[in-house]
Symmetry: C2
Subunit: 324 residues, 2 copies
Amino acid sequence: MSKAKLGDVAKHAGVSPTTVSRALNNRGYMSDKTKERINKAMQELNYFPNEVARSLHGGKTNLVGLLFPNVTNPFYGEIVTEIENALGQRGYKSLLCNTYNNPKQEEQYLNMLLANQVDGIIVGSRTKPSNVYQKANLAVVAIDRIISAKVPIVRSDNYAGACLATQYLIDQKFKRIALFTGSSKEEIEKGDLRVEGYIDTTKKHNLPQTICHIDFEQEDMYQKQRVLQFLTQNPKTDAIFATGDVLAGIVQGCTQDLGLKIAIVGYDGSKVFQNLCTNISTIRQPIEDMAKLAVDLTLDAIAGNFQKENKEFVLPVSLIKRSI
Amino acid sequence: MSKAKLGDVAKHAGVSPTTVSRALNNRGYMSDKTKERINKAMQELNYFPNEVARSLHGGKTNLVGLLFPNVTNPFYGEIVTEIENALGQRGYKSLLCNTYNNPKQEEQYLNMLLANQVDGIIVGSRTKPSNVYQKANLAVVAIDRIISAKVPIVRSDNYAGACLATQYLIDQKFKRIALFTGSSKEEIEKGDLRVEGYIDTTKKHNLPQTICHIDFEQEDMYQKQRVLQFLTQNPKTDAIFATGDVLAGIVQGCTQDLGLKIAIVGYDGSKVFQNLCTNISTIRQPIEDMAKLAVDLTLDAIAGNFQKENKEFVLPVSLIKRSI
DNA sequence: ATGAAAGCGCTAACAC
DNA sequence: GTGTTAGCGCTTTCAT
């Protein structure tokens, strides 16, 4: 037996499709008797409305696209989880898209999302701005990323966090603090607050700056080699600020391999990281708050309540200290 | 200017909607001139087809629901990532659903997915079987979970993996090997291959069995307390097999807090775990293979090519040895 | 309080 | 080769 549809329910209950629709949506008035009969018919036929048909008619899908590099990284895993939760609670569904920070991939996904009539998009992917975002008069919110003047940004206080991390290492009397980042030199020149926080803080204390760029697009093995190379070429390094926890973990593995005792501070502070790496200090982003805020902004925009001035929402970070 | 639709393109090109549709789908014949005119019109109007309308007509959404506890856990993060990749490459979209292993939540999601006319569902959530799966004549594939006789299962060789882990500890002369698991006693009684592997292997060597149940639904803090309690109550424990890597990480944190030197072997072996916990051995599941197989099976089922006999696909595991 | 009919955007017989 | 028409399942004026 195939799926029952609204018309079937109508026949079964001896009313018109219109009336069934009204019962379904609690719109308009109808006698309790009719209502009951319809409910009974729906039960008996095991009816549930076809959301695709509803979407086509209403021009609203209750679908939100989630564009993130991938949920392998615990930070993205946690923020995507929280976003999905918040969306689900408010009747929205999450279409997951792994962009791997690949601009071409991201653009394809974007077109796919538009074709699927999503009501909104939350972007945490870190590729260069695409003009596709402009075209659609769509609810778009970015996580820690500049897309265009019109797209609100939710992020943690990258600058303060980087200062906090660096200062923490300085307070422990470390003198040769290196920075490990996934950003390239070109990206940093365009502005990278975590890097700036590190530079400003080390400068303030007349300490040297040493930056190691790790290309996340490369294989794990290659990344490790790069780290090992850096560490052997800069043997006096006594502390490291890594701008992401996964990178911090990789770096720690390398220092262990080399038998080095180097203090490391990461960035992100996802719950899983805190559980898995109990000996790496980190800057914790308020992931849940960021997720909820991003969802609020998205749904506001969908409802047509656009934010006026405040385009950037910067949430506070905190330092999680760990021994070593 | 609002979104262009097929009819607009038709008018603009001076043809009928049918012809535009044909051009779009490369169906039937048409003069190159017409084709060109239509393509030009589509460009000028910035047209792209509305997938919702297509879905309504064709009865096919190219949507697959992903039911997993949540992608916070690196194992789920990685398998969901790989599934999304494999689906995306074959033109399918992923609807992410965090069930938190909550049966009620899972059932709600299931109904949502049915209402949204998904073509298939991949379930990695570990709650008790729901009868909703039966009703729908839908493509369903389970990851390491029994749903019903008809639903194929993709899993790693849990029994062999548990034996491998336990044997590895025994080979290192450990005598008091405890098992940490997220399963309750009741769940274990119904059959839990990782637990069975541990029990059989320790018994074979005349070693004692000690099982500590950790309730993942509880807060992190509570879980840790439970672990600490167990460790202080069982001070002679010299090695631990944890049936999941996140749990292994938590256990390791506790052993460090207590100043204990206990060997730990985990289970899962996600890439992120390997990077973050360089001193915990683990049993690696072939996550990418599992994801690809699950997607193949799902798409086969969608295409109507149901598997005949083989309902359970057991993939091999491997041991990743780490110092300590 | 209920029904008839048109339409959301696209596709597919079936004609010409 | 191309157009006409009906219909996917639902909602919504507009009547009654």
